[in-house]
């Protein structure tokens, strides 16, 4: 496992010019827009033992608050002026929180356990009904504290919105800096970035295995594109595809046993499937055009891909066991990079409108298309595990940055690293 790189810098601005910037930061998140009805919630700083715990302990409530705020669905209330800081539900004086106009309240506590473990507990209360809505306890190692805070935020989010959370997940992206290309994995809030692999030649197209244990990617380290699969825990690297010509665009099947890949050894780019151990290569598309950027439908029945067989690149689909391809998109100058929402109902893509490349979302049930981004060179859309947010690559000030947009287009975020050129984001699965 690579070492942590605690060199992060956050700027969170929501409607007002509220700026929180803990020291030593490098990734900045800016948020704009938001849901019309935000839930006002107070997250009370968790109680801690007065021992020499790391300052991380004090950050748990901050991490929870920042996660909820970033979703655009919550208004996180300032609790600094409140004198009573309950750490359990029995201590809560509801009238004080009602006066702050809080509808929901989070309290919690962190205790040391024998064997260098921590017990983290929290309770979520409905301030108006004066009842407990949720409560959990976690027995963890100290280095799991940050992820535990994200898990607590997920429980709160799920309880109050009715939808699964996304905070206890990770994102992968490529950072180009000083001529080196680094594949990094960070928590969904951009914190805790860790290097998976770095090279002086380009790395593109990272793809998470469905269980989140491995990442497939394309590396030019041998002066041509080759697909590798790397285990995040062990760093073990498998050369998945190194055939004559290009090897690129890896996409995992939903069960993780196969990948769709793109090879050029016959001539132009064509889609193939290959077992996750590099055996059992089969050609899936057959055309004289470019067929690339494959992605599996969540039910594994279809592989969608982009192709210029009709002139300009458009999105097509083919049965995952082979057959005739059918065209899916018809609008715009062209459409590229198809990606399914986890429920299979939405198809995200990059739409080219007269040379402007933007993220578009097509509702597969009624065919309606919504443009979600405003950039001119937006790329690599990737759904959050709950399908509610899309992460994508954009350009700002001549450099690559990441951006996120809610699938209803209302909440937008921008993530950039000062001095870095970030691209090729991929949102990983929810961590259990």
């Amino acid at each position: 496992m690579n070492k942590l790189r605690p060199v992060l810098f956050f700027v969170i601005s929501l409607f007002t010019s509220l700026i929180i910037s803990p020291a030593n930061a490098a990734l900045e998140i800016e948020i704009s827009g938001g849901s019309a009805q935000q839930i006002p919630i107070a997250v009370v700083p968790f109680g801690t033992l007065p021992v020499g715990q790391s300052s991380n302990v004090a950050q748990v409530s901050n991490i929870i608050g920042a996660d909820l705020r970033r979703s655009g669905l919550f208004r996180v209330l300032e609790t600094g002026g409140v004198v009573n800081r309950p750490t359990d539900i029995a201590q809560v004086k509801y009238a004080e929180w009602a006066a702050l106009q809080a509808q929901a309240l989070v309290v919690g506590n962190i205790e040391g356990l024998p064997g260098n473990r921590l017990k983290v507990s929290f309770k979520l209360a409905d301030v108006l009904k004066q009842t407990q809505l949720a409560g959990m306890e976690y027995n963890i190692a100290p280095n799991q504290l940050r992820m535990t805070a994200h898990k607590i935020a997920d429980v709160i989010y799920q309880k109050l919105t009715g939808e699964a959370g996304i905070f206890a997940s990770r994102i992968a992206y490529i950072n180009k800096s000083k001529g080196r290309y680094t594949l990094q994995v960070a928590d969904a809030d951009g914190e805790n970035p860790q290097t998976v692999v770095s090279s002086n030649e380009p790395i593109i197209s990272p793809a998470w295995s469905p269980d989140g244990s491995k990442i497939a990617y394309v590396s030019f380290e041998k002066k041509k594109p080759i697909i590798f699969v790397q285990s995040l825990m062990t760093g073990q690297r498998l050369t998945l595809a190194n055939f004559k010509g290009n090897n690129s665009a890896p996409a995992w099947s939903p069960d993780g046993t196969k990948l769709a890949i793109v090879l050029t050894y016959a001539a132009n780019s064509q889609v193939y499937t290959i077992n996750a151990d590099g055996t059992g290569l089969k050609q899936l598309t057959k055309s004289s055009a470019i067929d690339t950027e494959p992605t599996w439908s969540p039910d594994a029945k279809w592989v969608y891909f982009s192709s210029d067989r009709g002139g300009r690149p458009q999105i097509y689909k083919v049965s995952s066991i082979g057959g005739e391809a059918q065209r899916v998109t018809f609008e715009g100058t062209g459409n590229l990079s198809p990606r399914f929402s986890p429920d299979g109902k939405l198809l995200a893509m990059i739409r080219n409108d007269g040379g402007k490349y933007r993220v578009a979302l097509q509702d597969l049930t009624n065919g309606q298309v919504q443009l979600l981004s405003e950039g001119g060179q937006d790329e690599s859309p990737s759904f959050a595990p709950n399908g509610r947010v899309l992460l994508y690559a954009t350009r700002t000030g001549g450099r690559g940055a990441l951006a996120a947009v809610s699938s209803d287009g209302r909440v937008k975020q921008r993530l950039s690293e000062s001095g870095g050129d970030i691209r090729e984001p991929a949102w990983g699965p929810l961590l259990n």
């Binding site: 380009p202 593109i204 050029t264 132009n268 982009s306």
Partner: protein, 191 residues
């Protein structure tokens, strides 16, 4: 100075010398590692590098191979074989007529030198998605390869690869900048 440092410096000088001698050689020549190249027409000018006289007792040798380019048609700036870039229109892999003489000259050279091998490196501008551009760059290199095949060059003398937009000059503000990125580069093996 430690022994390790000395070795590193010596190795660096040797590598530099080998690289430079390889640069000026014709493609069929695969030189063994060494500082001196005594083959005909390879009279490299060697001289001690200035400012490197130190206490190590090792003089760095710099080989200036530019003096002899006249003997290598691939490097002679007056020879069309030194021209290596084929440019394309946006989202197109059609080889334009203006590059016909260039391709014909390289094809003639390849047919005459059966051991020569070239690598066609496809490139695109930064517009569009990285994976599609990788495919487009590949199609450009395949398109140029087909032109060579039609002129009698064998498949085994040509390898096609693509860098997509990965080697493109980024943040192009004007069309001429994009145009410069949309190209296939001809590189000879061992150059």
């Amino acid at each position: 100075m430690t022994k390790g440092m000395l070795n590193k410096k010596l190795l660096g000088s040797l590598l530099l010398a080998v690289m430079l001698s390889a640069c000026k050689s014709t493609p069929m020549v695969d030189k063994p590692a060494g500082v001196e190249d005594k083959s005909p027409g390879a009279s490299s000018v060697t001289k001690p590098a200035s400012g490197t006289a130190d206490t190590s007792g090792v003089k760095e040798v710099v080989i200036d191979s530019h003096a002899n380019n006249g003997n290598n048609p691939l490097k002679d700036p007056n020879n069309i074989l030194s021209k290596r870039n084929i440019y394309f229109d946006f989202d197109s892999d059609a080889v334009k007529a203006e590059f016909r003489p260039l391709i014909e000259a390289h094809a003639k050279y390849l047919v005459a030198n059966g051991n020569a091998k070239l690598i066609l490196q496809g490139n695109t501008d930064e517009r569009g998605t990285r994976e599609y551009n990788l495919s487009l760059g590949q199609r450009r290199s395949v398109s140029v390869k087909k032109s060579f095949n039609l002129l009698g060059v064998q498949d085994k003398q040509i390898e096609t690869v693509s860098f997509g937009e990965e080697k493109a000059t980024a943040n192009c503000a004007v069309e001429t900048c994009h145009q410069a990125n949309r190209r296939v580069d001809i590189a000879y093996e061992n150059e």
